[in-house]
Amino acid sequence: MIRRRFALSPALLMSLALAGLLIVVVLDLPPQPGLAGPVAQAMDQAGVGHPVTAVLLNFRGYDTFLELAVLMLAVLSIWSLGRRDPIPARPVQGPVMHGTLRHLIPVAVVTGGYLVWVGSSDSGGAFQGGAVLGAAGVMLMLSLPREMPMPPALLQRLGLSLGVFAFLAVGTAGLLAGHGFMGYPPAWAYHLILGIELAAAVSIALTLVLLFLGGRSRKVRHDR
């Protein structure tokens, strides 16, 4: 044990040195407003009322588009790893779990939908809404793996790519219509953004559930 502590000391020293450097630098950061000003000025053309949503879906929409792509790619990567073990089945006896879920899931769906919709004007958005929906899905998977019918593979893939597809389609349409790649006509901006948000929320929720499953399926497959 003592020997081990000695062996660790270089890593510790390096970490402490980095911490010291970072602290000095961070406390010395000059005060500057960042991009709050430019964002505020551009809000009237953003199509949505909430600045974070405007940044996410319009000003830096390309980031968000690629981030949806990262999520989707994560699922694909996990699928490509080809796990063959089944989901551990934990059918819960008794009424408590089922009763709770029966109440909780509609609430989660409504909450998620509301969060997506409210994102245009207040805190919320596709990620927050998608996360709540995804959580509902994860709960379902945890409690009812045997009864839960899995959607067909094509539907899974479609749902998974919905967000990226919607974004890509709108972005490319903007390019072809002369608004530039990832550009919206200002008059349509709100509707397009809301549409993308909805599609993205569905994809995100599905992605989170699929990430949780981690490539497992309900049945054991013997094809390896």
Binding site: L22, P33, F212
Partner: protein
């Protein structure tokens, strides 16, 4: 008043601390789960730092770092999920949830 001035600084300091803690654990710990957690802690540190940066401005909260953090969290979640599944595959293939000390040369 003092609280308002100090609080962003605390976020910044905590962010740095989390980042370095995570870094240290990533280097030192051998179990893959701990390494993956360590990366996540590093990420949280950076996100906290960004939020602290966003809160310093005089013209109100800067929304851009918030957007960055949301994006960053999603990216981190994706990478974590892949890492966890990969860890399970490594465990299944080698029987160990840790990396061999030196690379297999052949």
């Amino acid at each position: 008043m003092t609280v308002d001035v100090i609080s962003p600084q605390i976020y910044l300091l905590c962010g740095v601390l989390l980042f370095v803690l995570g870094l240290h654990a990533l280097v030192v710990r051998r179990h893959l789960l701990l390494k993956i957690l360590a990366v996540n802690i590093m990420g949280s540190g950076v996100f906290m730092l960004l939020l602290g940066v966003a809160a310093r401005g005089e013209g109100g909260i800067d929304p851009v770092p918030h957007a960055l953090v949301i994006t960053g969290i999603v990216v981190a979640v994706s990478a974590t999920a892949v890492a966890l599944v990969l860890m399970l595959k490594v465990k299944a293939a080698t029987g160990l949830a840790r990396l061999p000390l030196s690379g297999p040369e052949d």
